[in-house]
Subunit: 433 residues, 2 copies
């Protein structure tokens, strides 16, 4: 497993001359996430976030400021070609950018290409060919399973198979695009026939997204030892879910309309390179759990395949915002509650020869912590809708109401390194049409 | 429901001066399906099949032979922009092509743009944004359900919900691309732990594909009365399935690696316009079945929303081909065994606001007839692997073996009209890597 290595770009002493890049920011010079943005009056192009600025990568490539391999693929309106580059080319780009932003002598060339992020529009970073969603949050799988099978929450395949399914690529939207409450069929357990109407159990799911870098040809599996070479970066992902539709439609082929009305992601690709200092051992499997099958087993992956990321979820109702109240934190937990690593997810997905392509997106599934204060969905927090959550206004929530704004947050932290954030992943719920 | 109407392009008396376009062909002048092909030594471009020739639509557009709206979108290497056109523009293109091929005075302009199909390479007709697969073949759903639940084969949602799930777009290939036998996890019912290896229960599924034309914006459902406006055409689709992987992995999120290693389609888009003469009433629901819910109910759809298409499946083993034996027909049945129409599938898919895009592909699910001679998969024909099928060589089959070639065939037939075919949908099984 060739994880990206820690180098001078991760040096916590390195600071940036760019305004807003030091102190409390998701995007210090140690992060350097890529995205697609439109500057005021301009068209969509590649950029990198630094502090509260966005640096125009297309302009920098044309201006000869960047290494040739990366510069050659930075002219388009998606990052797919950048994601397709081998890791060494992405590392060279990262190193060049780190120098541009930390060496004040470069400011003359760089400053004309910096835009205030607040003035820019952020787009999806890639044309997402396929989106697959997994189910590796074992506490989530257990909590949801308990609602259906109290004595036997995890199905027999769970500890052998990184369970996943295909999601909808067309309805993925970047942070900030409102979510229209979906209509659909639901059937109460005691009803004879289903009803059609707006979802009454609209929920979020706290997930990480994995951006595929170089792909694999159809028919050629990705060995677990090479899986990291196919991971370009990460984002936050909210897999909005209509629990009432899901319960009625999901047998025998899995969730469909309960999930595909929208998926929200944070628009910045936090690179695998940036995550180098935040690699931690995969938590030991509980006594008695089976060893992963050989195609999913790699010593180095077990030693450093998990990520030290803190995850949080915030809710604010329309009334809370009107009254100037701060969002309520619904949960806080670690991303290391994944039963399978990102590398195991990739190796499993391609194990049958399925071809992954640059810019494909994989979701981890809901990342709930072991304890209630870290549950990653309202389905779990409200125990299937039975327990209300009190908001500071006195309002109560079991599921999301119109006007609610839901925000996910992620910060990677490691002793002796600068913390790096993932940026915004939020959306407001709009009434059904 | 504004189904395309029968016009002079469907006149069975209309014949073509193009060689091979009369008599026994899938592609008489009444068909005119679109595709993407490379002529010998040339690059990929749009074309239309006529007899055993392919007419270069890009060249025709540049040569001023086609209506302006269509000509403006025929320059690329996919048909997505053509599929996105409103029906009236596709009808104008069809009428122009019908005239070019039936009026011998046009042969001087047309002939230089005709290529022998046998010399050309056929590609996927569109960049498929999303692929969804349904389960509307009620006899298939019943047959498969019986293997698990003999007394209660159909789940309670089946007659209310056009059940579907998301499939994998990246691994869709045109007819002729071999299928590598996938590796994966399987667990025998009496085994304690799963094994990993090549699938031992590799199967096909006989389906129709539905090509989405104009899309719908995210958040805006497609009313059933307008669903036909979003259907540009049809193809054959083989949803290759590893039954052993499927049985182990599919709970609770549905099939994944059992299906996504490859999907084969016929490369020609048989247009909704060409299908006008083959519209038939949707079969009456059996006594006691619920009426479709209002968002799925349309009188005109019930009166003419089904299609008169004969479907066949042929198998030839490597030994059969070596001995010069004709392929064995495994089944023959009608496409009208769909419990839900194509229009109901589209309306349901978009009912929660999910955005469909031009060039998206929807599979119907396996279309098995009511009787064994029309079953659309080996799982059904072999009763879950218990009954062998004898090949003319004396070989036996329960599931597919390496070297087997599987071919789907479809012909639309109606009294008083020229029959039109769908072209080839076949592939050979290669050994696991």
């Amino acid at each position: 497993m060739n994880f990206p290595q820690i180098d001078e770009t991760h040096d916590p002493a390195r600071s940036s001359w760019v305004e807003g890049a030091d102190g409390h920011t998701d995007f210090p010079v140690q992060n350097l996430p890529y995205g697609i943005f439109s500057p005021p009056g301009g068209t969509a192009r590649a950029g990198v976030a630094i502090g509260d600025r966005i640096f125009d990568l297309k302009g920098a490539a044309r201006g000869g400021l960047l290494p040739a391999a990366a510069a050659a693929v930075l002219d388009g309106t998606t990052l797919n070609a950048l994601l397709a580059l081998p890791g060494r080319d992405r590392i060279a780009l990262r190193q060049a950018l780190s120098t541009l932003f930390s060496d004040e002598r470069q400011s003359g060339a760089v400053e004309p290409l910096l835009h205030r992020a607040a003035d820019c529009l952020l787009h999806l970073p890639a044309a997402i060919g396929d989106y697959s969603d997994f189910y590796v949050g074992i506490h989530h799988a257990t909590n949801i399973g308990k609602l259906f099978r109290p004595d036997n929450p995890l199905l027999p395949n769970y500890k052998y198979v990184p369970i996943g399914y295909h999601g909808r690529a067309s309805s993925i939207r970047p942070s900030g695009v409102p979510v229209v409450r979906p209509r659909g069929q639901r059937k109460a357990p005691d009803a004879d026939v289903p009803l059609v109407g707006p979802s009454q159990r609209l929920d979020y799911e706290l997930e990480l997204g994995i951006w595929i870098g170089p792909g694999n040809p159809l028919g050629d599996p990705v060995p677990i030892a090479e899986a990291t070479d196919h991971i370009a970066g990460f984002c936050l992902l909210n897999d909005w879910s209509a629990r009432d539709f899901q319960a009625w439609e999901y047998v025998p082929l899995g969730p469909f309309l309960a999930k595909n009305f929208q998926t929200t992601i944070s628009p910045w690709v936090v690179t695998a390179e940036a995550m180098a200092p935040f690699r931690i051992p995969q938590p030991q499997r509980p006594e008695g759990d089976p060893q992963p099958l050989p195609y999913l087993w790699d010593e180095a992956d077990q030693a450093g395949g998990a990520l030290a990321i803190d995850l949080e979820v915030y809710l604010s109702s329309a009334r809370m915002r009107a009254e100037g109240l701060a969002p309520l934190r619904l949960s806080r937990g670690p991303a290391s509650s994944m039963y399978w690593t990102a590398q195991q997810i990739v190796a499993h997905h391609a194990s049958n020869g399925c071809d992954l392509r640059p810019g494909d997106l994989l979701g981890t599934g809901t990342l709930s912590a072991a304890t209630r204060d870290g549950y990653g969905s309202l389905m779990e927090l409200s125990e299937g809708g039975k327990v209300s959550i009190a908001l500071p206004t006195g309002e109560q929530r079991t599921f999301l109401e119109d006007g609610d704004e839901l925000a996910l947050k992620a910060v990677a932290r490691a002793e002796g390194f600068a913390s790096i954030g993932f940026g915004e992943c939020r959306a407001v719920i709009m009434p059904a049409r």
